[in-house]
């Protein structure tokens, strides 16, 4: 078990390192940063001055190592646009996005897992069909359009919820629905298929042969085994949500990481963009690592090796 954890951790760490290189190179190779920062009207001398000021004249490898060394201490330099350090900006915006992501994931799981179980148990029945139709329809709706539609219905017409911002919990309801929406079909399908596989297994027949009541068979014997892959998927989906929050935060004007990234990209504030890319990727890698651990713990075949 310890060996398993160590090996997984090694892989996660090396993926994170590679991602940092990719994130770094992506921004440095897509064009002349100095030119981009100085702006199109700057004279060549001004561009050169910017180049030296931001250390862009140094060899790429040196720039990368400087940046990485800083990143390890959460020092991502200063924002070009905001008069703050990148770390302070990120720390300020982070809670909004994490809260939004957590609520969205919670909502998605709360809807998708019971729906998947009910669909599997009533395989081929109307609930199953309706759930599958809902999945296909749901996946076709663009997140930002869903967000706008929610605003129109619940904020403008019904006046139940505030239009935008992130001041109170009520501000989080619609964004969380818009963000969690896309995760529901995937989780529901995985739960449904997992339940179908498990329900057809020999040990479910054994459990029924013992005369156990149907709820015990369903929840103790079936769901416990069917839910294992859902954990990994939930972690992956949470990572996607943090990435996707950029769209939702833009629609609902929530001042989280995604909104910050959008502003920073628009203003060519690259230290901020780099930091957020690295941060989101690291969170994703951390989450998948965590999911591996939870999976190992849930499955005695790995836990008690």
């Amino acid at each position: 078990m310890l060996l398993y954890i160590l090996r997984r951790f090694g892989v996660a760490l090396s993926v994170a390192l590679t991602v940092s290189i990719v994130a770094f190179l992506l921004l440095h190779l897509s064009g002349d940063l100095a030119l981009a920062i100085a702006g199109p009207e700057a004279s060549p001398a001004q561009v050169e001055q910017v180049r030296i000021q931001y250390g862009l004249d140094k060899p790429l490898a040196v720039q990368y190592l400087d940046w990485l060394a800083g990143a390890l201490h959460f020092d991502f330099g200063r924002s070009f646009y905001f008069r703050e350090t990148v770390a302070a900006l990120v720390a300020e915006r982070m809670p909004v996005t994490m809260t939004l992501g957590a609520i969205a994931l919670g909502l998605a799981l709360l809807v998708a897992i019971p729906l998947g179980v009910v669909a599997a148990v009533n395989r081929g029945g109307w609930i199953d069909r309706a759930a599958l139709v809902f999945c296909v329809l749901g996946q076709a709706i663009p997140t930002f359009w869903l967000g706008l539609t929610l605003i129109l219905v619940f904020a403008v017409n019904l006046r139940w919820l505030p239009v935008s911002g992130n001041a109170t919990w009520a501000h989080f309801v619609m964004p969380a629905i818009a963000l969690g929406w896309y995760a529901v079909p995937a989780v529901m399908r995985l739960t449904r298929n997992g339940m179908l596989d498990v329900l057809a297994s020999d040990y479910i027949r054994t459990a029924r042969a013992k005369g156990l009541r149907w709820p015990t068979v369903l929840f103790k014997h079936a769901l416990r085994n069917a839910v294992v892959p859902v954990v990994a998927l939930a972690a992956v989906q949470f990572g996607f949500m943090l990435g996707g929050s950029i769209v939702v935060e833009a629609v609902f004007s929530m001042h989280g990481l995604g909104h910050l990234a959008w502003e920073a990209i628009g203003r060519k504030d690259f230290p901020v963009v780099q930091a957020i890319v690295l941060l989101l990727a690291s969170i994703y890698i951390g989450l998948t690592f965590l999911a591996d651990l939870i999976n190992a713990w849930l499955d005695p075949r790995i836990r008690v090796a």
């Binding site: 057809a200 297994s201 020999d202 040990y203 027949r205 054994t206 459990a207 029924r208 042969a209 013992k210 005369g211 156990l212 009541r213 149907w214 015990t216 014997h221 416990r224 085994n225 849930l298 499955d299 005695p300 075949r301 008690v304």
Partner: protein, 325 residues
């Protein structure tokens, strides 16, 4: 009154090609203390028959019977809750796949005790004690320490013993063992069979043993039912069926296994040429006729079941009752 009465049990399974008549009109009765062996090759419907008794068939299978009665309780009319109360308590089943029949997520102890705790009011401690006692009875050493282990930590033989102990937890009146020894080594097979027979005699249970192994039947069973293509072709006591095998299929089966003292060394064993026919769609007449040496025109018509004396019955138009050799 017999403990188990089965009259004209049929099982149909809808498939894309049409209705599959997996089991067609199986009838038998079983008393306490008796062991019935249902014999047949794979696909003959013997496992489905045993699952049908427990009402554990796959959901799309259609079960019908004129009578299906357990200790006077009409199983065809019983509600789901009533059947759940019977299962695991008064009728138990031992499955043939020890590797997949235990839930990988729970310990042996948990899976052993849950049937007892479901059907009886016992403390966790008492349930564990009973589990340990039964594990010891099925020949598992260090039984107490096994309770905390997970299925993947046990060998196939141990898991099969756990399955048997699991079936015995509530001291059932009827125990159905579906090929309990196929997955095991020959040496363990003999042990498990002896164990089943001893336990059955000790507790006075009725035992249904589903097997394709005639050697097993001769050692353990009191009654035999030979199954072919979803029908019982010959039934009777072990003495009757083995002493005077009458149906051509039974005779073929007996010829194809070596019998100590009867088969001479070096003598070739018999085989039954041909294949089991498909059972999709309407099936008429004797299903064995395309492999039978004695097949006649009349075999395509209705085949009456005839009493050959005692409890010995067979479904064949053949008049001559011969010996296997």
């Amino acid at each position: 009154m017999a403990l188990l009465e089965v009259d004209r049990l049929t099982i149909d399974i809808p498939t894309e090609a049409g209705l599959l008549h997996a089991v067609g009109g199986v009838s038998f009765t079983l008393e306490r203390g008796e062991t019935l062996a249902i014999v047949g090759e794979s696909g003959s419907g013997k496992s489905l028959t045993s699952l049908a008794l427990m009402d554990l068939l796959p959901s799309r299978a259609i079960r019908k019977a004129a009578t299906l009665r357990f200790d006077g309780i009409d199983l065809m009319a019983a509600g789901e809750r009533q059947k759940e109360d019977l299962r695991g308590d008064r009728m138990a089943m031992i499955f043939q796949e020890p590797m997949t029949s235990l839930n990988p997520a729970y310990t042996i102890g948990d899976q052993l005790t849950e049937a007892l705790r479901r059907h009886r009011t016992v403390s966790a401690k008492a349930a564990r004690e009973r589990a340990v006692h039964l594990l010891e009875r099925v020949g598992i050493t260090a039984a107490a320490s096994r309770l905390g282990q997970y299925p993947h930590q046990l060998s196939g033989g141990l898991r099969q013993r756990v399955m048997i102990a699991m079936g015995l937890m509530c001291e059932p009146d009827l125990i159905i063992a579906d090929e309990p020894t196929t997955a095991l080594d020959v040496t363990i097979q003999a042990q498990i069979l002896r164990l089943l027979r001893d336990l059955q005699q000790e507790f006075g249970m009725a035992l249904i043993l589903v097997t394709h192994d005639l050697g097993v039947v001769a050692r353990v069973a009191t009654k035999v039912a030979v199954m072919y293509a979803g029908r019982l072709v010959e039934t009777g006591t072990v003495r009757e069926v083995f002493g005077a095998p009458s149906h051509p299929y039974t005779r073929g089966l007996l010829r194809s296994i070596p019998v100590p003292g009867r088969t001479r060394p070096g003598e070739p064993l018999g085989t039954i040429p041909g294949q089991v026919p498909g059972l999709v769609g309407d099936v008429f007449g004797c299903a064995f006729r395309n492999r039978c040496d004695h097949a006649a025109e009349a075999c395509a018509g209705a085949i009456p079941e005839r009493l050959l004396g005692g409890n010995h019955r067979m479904a064949c138009i053949l008049e001559t009752v011969g010996s296997p050799q």
